[in-house]
Symmetry: C2
Subunit: 322 residues, 2 copies
């Protein structure tokens, strides 16, 4: 059983609270604390040695802990505001804490987020959970569940860069300029907050790409009760990724690598022009990578022919079912 | 450096956000998501082997993970509403998860709390963080910082029971009736939500007793920039605790044991009658244990004579400074 099924099985219960507009199962919850304002809450955890290598600097870890949550807020089309931090540490090392706090406040400061509370505990390995609260105009939160057959599928930025960067980070090649740019994409994910905010009302569904584009696009489609077709030839592979990994491995990184923190979203076919204008405005590639179809599952095509993709993205428990 | 100083040093920064009414350093943050409604957010973590023994059942762990956060919400005088859960597990054991979820939803259901999101990750030891959101009438949240010289200090319930229960839980005596009642106080803490809600407007300051009454009362006094005098002879020691531990050890459990999840609060001396009426209404002892004085620090008296208390409560890092 993978993490997705596990959460669904044990932690999804019907809510009697009319102010819970979206509960467990999306990138974030949508809540209504007061009439006239909706709120988005997300929580995401980094475990040392699982979500980042021991080699990562304390400042990068602090930055990432906030950025991965900002990415969930972006995927909901909300504006981030407040966060709480649960920090489990082996020991209170002042140098590590100073660096961690520096990175944490850097990421928070870039988006006007205030740390409002926390809890520090002792444990055998570093575990960092951040709960982030955002706000959004009533009824405007983006969810995963409204993609429709005929919609186009898009992805922002260059998926695969961060996953390649993570591998390079631990190897001897990390100092080459192309490699360095990929490593930076892992160290400092750029949450797509402005994109998310502008997609509200334009996209039909969105998800942040944390576990691999193929797997996360599949989750969006499943949540919308539709299927999809992804054109591998359209994947926006970066020059650096192609230089370092070659085309075939680059596609694998882009489809299954994880840690991108880009947005994958669906939009009606006639929104193509608006999306192109948005990409130009933000200076961020927004690439049409396929289509939403009736049915279930995400299939892949390459050069017009069906291909089977066998990697299902990063799963926290168990093995991907192939 | 203890946890308290550590958090203050690295994670307290001035906020530019006018909607953050109370930030890091109290039992919870007080936020204003929209005019006309204040919100309280708390986060608390349980680490296996540190905050609970391996012997505790999965259902009790789930219950406690919610209850310790409910207790923070109670200390702020708020009504709990929504929670998110970050769960780090060694493996996805369906029996453990089923039990954990049962206890979690039991505690949540008792107070109308909805689980709205979560994140499950893999790690070497179980770590459970719950972020709980509550709401409160604007300006009515209870903080730690408004105790005034001349106020009386109170504690609810029977501090020390849970700490004794935790020790008994791991020993052979846990099945004796008195011991069993103490063990239950550890297994199933009763967050004092109704008390907290009714103290808003009556108490001047409040804190939940999680790390030991002496230490937590000291934090309330420090946050209020006042001192205090605690009368050890007035401690409301339960019959069961006295039977199992004897008077002297019972006082130690009550002052330094932790895990009580009672409320310690200050109130003007002329509120004594109202507080007695509240105790009767709730069927919960609310005991005057001392007074707030000008100055700093918490001193103890017993039979009218000063005594030195040397245990500073549970600290997550480092050693108590004696």
């Amino acid at each position: 059983m993978d993490e997705f099924e596990l959460i669904r099985k044990y932690f999804t219960r019907a809510s009697a609270d009319p102010d819970v507009l979206v509960g467990v199962g999306d990138d974030g919850a949508v809540l209504r604390p007061a009439p006239g304002r909706d709120q988005v809450q997300v929580i995401d955890t980094l475990v040392e040695g699982i979500h980042y290598p021991r080699e990562l600097s304390a400042a990068d870890i602090g930055y990432r802990a906030v950025a991965v949550n900002l990415s969930d807020i972006a995927a909901m089309g909300a504006r981030p505001r407040w966060m709480t931090l649960a920090l489990t540490l082996r020991a209170a090392d002042p140098a590590w804490l100073a660096g961690f706090a520096e990175g944490l406040f850097e990421a928070a400061g870039e988006h006007g987020v205030t740390l409002v509370g926390g809890d520090t505990t002792h444990g055998p390995r570093t575990v960092i959970s951040v709960n982030l609260t955002g706000d959004v105009e009533p009824g405007r939160a983006l969810t995963r569940s409204r993609a429709r057959p005929g919609d186009r599928l898009f992805v922002s930025g260059h998926p695969g860069d961060a996953a390649a960067g993570l591998e390079l980070l631990q190897g001897p090649a990390a100092r080459q300029p192309d490699a360095e740019r990929l490593v930076d994409r892992f160290r400092r994910p750029a949450a797509r907050l402005e994109l998310g905010a502008r997609l509200a009302g334009l996209a039909t569904a969105a998800i942040d790409v944390s576990d691999g584009l193929y797997g996360d696009a599949g989750k969006l489609l499943a949540a919308s009760s539709v299927g999809g077709r992804l054109d591998i030839g359209r994947l926006p592979l970066s020059r650096e990724l192609l230089a370092v990994a070659g085309r075939s491995r680059a596609s694998d990184y882009a489809l299954g690598g994880g840690d991108d923190y880009e947005l994958c979203f669906s939009a009606p076919a006639d929104a193509a022009e608006q999306i192109a204008a948005l990409a130009a405005k933000l200076g961020l590639p927004l690439t049409d990578i396929g289509e939403v179809v009736a049915g279930a599952g995400l299939s892949c095509v390459e050069n017009g022919a069906p291909v089977e993709y066998r990697h299902a993205g990063y799963l926290h428990f168990g093995e991907p079912s192939t």
